[in-house]
Amino acid sequence: MREEINTGAAQIKAAPNPTLVKLSTFWRKLTSSKSAVVGGILIIAIILIALIGPYFVPYSPSATDTANRLNGPSLAHWLGTDNYGRDIFSRIIDGMSITLYVGFSAVLIGMTVGVFLGIISGYYGGKIDTIIMRFMDILLAFPGILLALAIVAVLGSSLNNVIIAVAVFSVPVFARIVRGSTLSVKKLEYIDAVKALGASDARIIFKHILPNVASPIIVQATLSIATSILSASGLSFLGLGAQPPMPEWGAMLADGRNYMYDAPHVATIPGIAIVIVVLAFNLFGDGLRDALDPKMKN
């Protein structure tokens, strides 16, 4: 009884910012989801390793040691060595930042372009909408990896071109999501009210629509990072992305492929690393989606 009275008084005193209230419920929901917690912790660990790991690796990731080729895991080489005798553990740690760099930058580019096109499309409607969305439909009609392959084939194979290619195929996903949310937000009366005050389109879009369509964008971005990492590794596996001796996981997987029977760990370990990172982002994205979904109430 007393507790109830206390909480009542506290509510009157503190004027809660709805953004903060939302943040605290969001945090509660997010931390109550096991997958989000596991994914989140993994992501934090991955980022930390990517940032500080390379300073602590036992060997240089490109140092060859022909005497110790294709060794299995041991105390000296925790995850064994590859066909040039390079320490796989060091290469995995060093390659982590490459993986994250590709994932984050591809999504950042794809998201920026997609959100921009989606908001323009949803806000202005009409012909602009039709043209943008039909173009997005064309992009969506291609299988993602095929489109990326074509783009890299045109631009030439390098890691940065892989990023561009992966970004291009994540654009339509963002554009569609943002267009839909924009359509529903722009019908709200307060948008009309600021319009009637004489607000410019830019003000309405950036100040009143964008903050209200942010949550689906965040969820999609998290999930897109996973897809992007997977696609980029795929392209590198095909030899279109990172060039040797860069310790890119997809390229390492490709290298190890030739020794699958004698030394399976050379191919398996980069594969497992990719799986862990992709899984981390997927788990976290799923948890995030549930936490941001107003229909799911815990």
């Binding site: 709805p18 009366e189 009309d192 009210a193 005050l197 004489g198």
Partner: protein, 335 residues
């Protein structure tokens, strides 16, 4: 004679209905179909009618929140529809709007201060260093405390939120305020407060109101003149007393007879209408009201009546019915 602040001429607002494989326009919703009226400086004109008659659409079209299909809207001697988007943005300072739903019409993520500050910033009404004072003044004017400025909309009641909406509209020193069902969402005691506030503000700031409502009691209280709309057309227009005490159009009569009388013993003559409002997609030919009018004749089905003044009507009072004289004299014969 006060000067005309707003002149609406033959305003039409059609919304296309898209359909088919190629998204062609297959038909139009004729929400507002050629209406003409003037609003004089300092008066309150109400537009009444049942839902779907086009009264809100009229307000939105005047404000160019939806671009009207055809017609003229002249405000203070300037054709609003001819203005470029940029000039229109500046012009919006003079025309403001108060919306129906106080829960949807203010951004839940902004504090009252941010809401008002943004309005002042958009139109650059006062220099930056005077904005805080102006905000405090505005809140005082609409009956909120200046100490509430840093609160968020969810901390206010519906009536208070509507006051925030009014403060926002007032912040840019408008000449005309379009109140689109501004009190319909509030409960009755709060309605009275907000209406009295609006009347007070009208006196203090020399405001002109275009008051859109379906609530005849409220309209009777606040208006100088009344426009009655039915299915996108004006059926009767006139000063308040003429419309309420001497209605000439059968639709107005039916509408007025629906006002509840707070006296259980009162014998009211209820004019009951049959059927529903026809679809504005294919409005009836001739007089739009003929499908439900107890006096309809063959002529009504063919010929659309014009607004006109007959003997016994005050100046400025006009009805759009072919048989106003006959109905009044009791000589009308339904074939």
């Amino acid at each position: 004679m006060p000067k005309e602040l707003l002149k609406v001429k033959d305003l039409k607002q059609y919304f296309p209905i898209k359909g088919g494989l190629l998204g062609r326009t297959i038909n139009h919703v004729k929400a507002v179909d050629g209406i003409t009226f003037d609003v004089y400086e300092g008066e309150t004109v109400s537009i009444v009618g049942e839902s779907g008659c086009g009264k809100s659409t009229t307000g939105r079209a005047i404000l160019r929140l939806d671009e009207p299909t055809a017609g003229e809207v002249e405000f203070d001697g300037e054709d609003l529809l001819a203005l470029s988007k940029k000039d229109m943005r500046k012009k919006r300072k003079d025309l403001q709007v108060i919306f129906q739903d106080p829960y949807a019409s203010i951004n839940p993520r902004q504090t009252v201060r941010q809401i008002l500050e943004e309005a002042l910033e958009i139109q650059n009404v006062v220099p930056k260093n005077e904005r805080a004072k102006k905000i405090a003044d505005l809140m005082e004017v609409v009956g909120l405390g200046a100490h509430q400025a840093d609160r968020f909309p969810h901390e206010f009641s519906g009536g208070q939120r509507q006051r925030i909406g009014i403060a926002r509209a007032l912040s840019v020193d408008p000449k005309l305020i379009i109140a689109d069902e501004a009190v319909s969402a509030l409960d009755v005691s709060i309605q009275a407060q907000v209406i009295n506030l609006m009347k007070q503000l009208q006196r203090d700031f020399a405001l002109t109101y275009l008051f859109i409502s379906h609530d005849l009691g409220v309209v009777r209280h606040i208006s100088d003149r009344v426009i009655v709309m039915y299915l996108g057309k004006i059926v009767e227009i006139g000063d308040k007393t003429s419309i309420f005490d001497n209605p000439h159009h059968p639709y107005t009569k039916a509408l007025l007879s629906a006002i509840p009388v707070p006296d259980p013993d009162a014998q009211s003559e209820r004019v009951l209408l049959e059927g529903d409002v026809p679809s504005p997609i294919n409005p009836p030919q001739g007089c739009r009201f003929h499908t439900r009018c107890p006096f309809a004749t063959e002529r009504c089905r063919v010929e659309a009546p014009e607004l006109r003044n007959i003997d016994g009507m005050k100046e400025g009072h006009m009805g759009a019915c072919h048989f106003m004289e006959e109905i009044k004299n009791g000589t009308h014969q339904v074939e």
